[in-house]
């Protein structure tokens, strides 16, 4: 296990290096630069040239990479070219908590909606319960989040006035407000995952219920409810935990569309706007942070999976 972890860590470092190269050079290939954006309609060639020099953008691209990566690993992530804010503040203080909070609530929504409907659908296989549940799952899994967001805003936010339509409220400053503000976005994002998790839950449970040991248990006359609770659900846990873990990793990568539609200041929106503004350092650092989280969550899920599934441990 330890050796496995060590090897994975080594891979992770190489992977992060590759990502850093990717993101750096993709951004440099994009036409335009932060100075173009900074100057906007106040453009004139002299200030353009001067600001480029000032920001070190006229140097060799390899030197720029070297400077950036060496500073990045020591924790100096630089500044936003346009507003002068510290990149680390923008990512870690402003954006990341929002995305974490959104992901958490979406996951809660997803599980609350998905697990019961998945289990119910599996138990009542091929009945209208199954069809309705799975139909809804597919439906929500197929809804573009930006479109669902707009629909929810206008129905539940504006027409009915049940929930706030936009913005983020920190749970530390206003716990109740933070939850009501998260209702529509968390549902929008959660609905997609709920569709997925419900389908996985159903199919894994169906799978397990077809296994010989369940049939044996049933044949032995064990109460069917007990069969489900004692034997089947425990075995469903592995795939569901795995998928939930991976979903979390996916969610933390930032729900760009959901954050855009609901005006949430999360990391997905941060990085998107940063790409469009050619905020090199901000994009690079955000992508690195997202990748690090993603990789480590996957690593965790992997370990958990090995732990839960003895067959895999042996292999």
């Amino acid at each position: 296990m330890l050796q496995f972890a060590f090897k994975r860590l080594q891979h992770t470092l190489i992977l992060l290096f590759i990502i850093s190269v990717f993101v750096f050079f993709i951004m440099k290939l994009a036409p335009g630069d932060p100075v173009t954006v900074m100057l906007g309609s106040d453009y004139n060639p002299e200030s353009y040239a001067r600001l480029r020099t000032e920001l070190g953008l006229d140097r060799s691209i390899f030197i720029q990479y070297g400077i950036w990566i060496s500073r990045f690993v020591t924790g100096d992530w630089g500044y936003s070219y346009i507003s002068g804010a510290k990149v680390s503040k923008l990512i870690l203080q402003d954006a990341l908590p929002v995305t974490l909070f959104l992901s958490l609530w979406s996951l809660v929504f997803a599980l609350v909606l998905a697990l019961p409907s998945g289990i119910l659908a599996a138990l009542k296989r091929n009945t209208w319960v199954d069809y309705t549940g799975m139909g809804l799952a597919i439906f929500f899994n197929s809804f573009p989040s930006f479109y669902l967001g707009i629909v929810l805003i206008w129905i539940f936010g504006v027409s009915l006035g049940w929930f706030p339509t936009m913005g983020y409220v920190s749970p530390w400053s206003d716990p109740v407000g933070s939850i009501t503000h998260m209702m529509l976005p968390a549902f929008t994002l959660g609905a997609w995952y709920a569709g997925l998790i419900a389908r996985i839950t159903r199919s894994s449970l169906v799978d397990v219920l077809n296994q010989p040991f369940i049939k044996v248990a049933k044949a032995k006359g064990v109460d069917s409810r007990a069969v489900v609770y004692k034997h089947a659900l425990r075995n469903v846990l592995i795939p569901v935990v795995t998928i939930v873990g991976l979903q979390l990793g996916g969610m933390l990568r930032g729900a760009v569309m959901t954050e855009t539609v609901f005006a949430l200041p999360g990391i997905g929106r941060l990085v998107t706007i940063a790409v469009l503004n050619r905020e090199y350092q901000l994009v690079q650092a955000s992508v690195m942070v997202i990748a690090i989280m993603f990789i480590f969550i996957n690593l965790g899920v992997d370990m958990l999976y090995r732990f839960l599934n003895p067959r895999m441990r042996a292999a």
Binding site: S41, A263, P265
Partner: protein, 548 residues
């Protein structure tokens, strides 16, 4: 001091006409132009009781905010916020009919010669950090703007500044190398940006992070800026302007700007009552919000114009006949209806209605310049050296840049119109950084552009159309035109100056580096519970007199 003395440009003109003999001084609050200053302290007492102090407003801010350092900003979304944090040497005032520039941080402005300005500052003005605003501060600010090492993009506005002498703690003399017609605009605290006064100590303390930690003298002080989320301002209890109740402005305790780009979400939040206002309402939402009982729309035609620019340096638009054909082939009426949704008037010139001394009411009806006439367009098209079908690319950008945020819609509307004269337009969408780069380097055939929040013809014509000037992206060049607008910069007589601009404007229309489209209205939405909002047609949004 009515009439000619109404704005500073006119005053400058007047001065120079009087051959430097006059020693007349220009005192803040005197005459009609100082309306906003004059009310301070002695306003109608009857109203004083009705104004409730306190409370806060939430404004959906859909315009982008780049930095809160006014000497570095280039976005109106930011300038609208600066207006509440900072003061300028001058400010823009509006009496419902005409725009003028009035002293803000100074008490008295004297001009012993056309190039010498003696400024006497207000006493007791304090920055949010407690520092005094003195002659030394003004000097430091002016030097910061023009210092090449600071690299402010607004340095050019003070390029002709010769020297600054401090006469005493609140009095200074600023000398320019030549009379400078643009100065009043440059010195305003909002659109000009070269005259906005920031706190030297804070700039030194924060360095490049100053844009996130602004300190000014304005009615509100900065609290926090959370990226893509909000900017919070709170009341500055020591602000120098007084409200109608005789106590310092502002009335409000707190203003929160919620930063979002999705304007449909902002409109939803406004309709559901979560937001109390919107800093910019896209045209298509105006009819809906006008019908909403809780919302009022504020806005009017501002100092702007939009056009379809044609690159004069490259074929096919190197041919003047083809450009003219385009200018006559575009039917502006459907554009005003379908792109601006009625929120604009037709434009036939760079001079817009708020430039009252220079605007010609009949600019479009007289048929002097550009107008829609398909037959004429076809005739011109036949004269073009590029015969057969011409294919051109029109670059559009999705965000609120270019022609008031309607670029793609305008392009969609114009595309079939130009097909009728054998110009096949391919609409190509670019994201904003690429669009700006292509525009700045002249790498395009056709594009839509708009110049906004301009209050003087020089500002709206000179850098945009004179040969080799920075914003002349289409590469227009006409010696006669250059001469006319350069002369206008120094022409002291108002009537003569107007005549020069009229002539130059006509050349612009006839040479057709662009097809003029519209002067558009800039709309803001406010909840009906908000009172006291002062509308100024330079896209400003000051909160200091707002009360709930």
């Amino acid at each position: 001091m009515a009439g000619k003395g109404d704005d500073h440009i006119a005053m400058l003109a007047n001065k120079m006409a009087q051959e430097l003999v006059s020693r007349r001084s220009f005192v803040a609050g005197a005459g009609a132009m100082g309306a906003s200053v004059a009310t301070s302290g002695f306003g109608s007492r009857a109203f004083a009781q009705s104004i409730k102090r306190g409370g806060q407003v939430n404004i959906a801010w859909v315009d982008t905010v780049d930095t809160l350092d006014p000497h570095f900003t280039s976005s109106l979304g930011a300038i609208k916020i600066h207006d509440n944090i900072y003061n300028g040497i001058l400010k823009v005032a509006f009496d419902g009919k005409r725009v003028s520039f009035v002293p803000d941080l100074m008490e008295k402005w004297e001009m012993p010669t056309p190039t010498t300005h003696i400024l006497t500052l207000r006493q007791g003005v304090k920055f949010h950090n407690g520092d005094d605003c003195t002659a030394e501060t003004i000097k430091w600010n002016q030097e910061r703007v023009r210092d090449p090492n600071v690299k402010s993009p607004h340095a050019w506005k003070l390029a002709d500044l010769d020297k600054i002498e401090i006469l005493d703690s609140h009095k200074l003399k600023i000398t320019f190398k030549r009379p400078y017609q643009f100065l009043p605009v440059a010195w305003t605290g909002s659109t000009g940006r070269a005259g906005t006064i920031v706190n030297p100590k804070a700039v030194e303390k924060w360095g490049r992070q100053y844009g996130r930690n602004p300190v000014g003298t304005g009615p509100f002080r900065f609290v926090e800026w959370i990226e893509n989320d909000r900017i919070v301002l709170e009341k500055n209890p020591n602000y120098f302007e007084k409200g109608e109740d005789g106590k310092p402005l502002p009335y409000l305790d707190k203003v929160t700007m919620h930063l979002l780009r999705e304007s449909s979400t902002a409109v939803g939040a406004l309709m559901s009552g979560e937001m109390d206002g919107m800093d910019l309402v896209p045209f298509q939402f105006v009819p809906v919000l006008e019908k909403n009982p809780n919302v009022k729309i504020v806005g009017g035609v501002e100092g702007n114009y939009t056009y379809v620019g044609m690159n004069c340096r490259k074929p096919p638009f190197d041919d003047v006949a083809l450009r003219q054909a385009v200018s006559f082939a575009i039917d502006r009426t459907p554009i005003l209806q379908q792109a601006y949704f009625g929120g604009a008037i037709q434009s036939c010139s760079a001079v817009s209605p708020p430039m009252t001394n220079f605007y010609n009411e009949d600019q479009c009806t007289s048929k002097r310049a550009q107008y829609f006439d398909l037959e004429k367009a076809k005739a011109l098209r036949a004269k073009s050296k590029h015969q057969g079908e011409v294919e051109v690319e029109w670059m559009v950008v999705g965000q609120y840049t270019g022609s008031g945020g309607v670029g793609p819609r305008m392009a969609e509307l114009v595309q079939p119109m130009l097909a009728k004269i054998g110009v096949k337009v391919k609409i190509q969408l670019y994201e904003s950084a690429t669009w700006h780069k292509k525009r700045n380097t002249g790498d395009f055939s056709m594009y839509d552009e708009g110049w906004v929040a301009d209050l003087d013809p020089d500002e709206t014509i000179f850098p945009e159309w004179v040969t080799g000037k920075p914003w002349n992206f289409v590469g227009f060049s006409s010696k006669e035109f250059d001469q006319l607008v350069s002369d206008a910069q120094f022409e002291p007589d108002l009537a003569k100056r107007k005549a020069l601009y009229d002539k130059a404007d006509l050349i612009l229309a006839q040479e057709a580096p662009c097809a003029f489209i519209a002067h558009f209205k800039v709309f803001k939405a406010l909840s009906k519970k908000i009172n006291g909002f002062e509308y100024i047609p330079s896209d400003s949004m000051r909160f200091h007199k707002i009360h709930i």
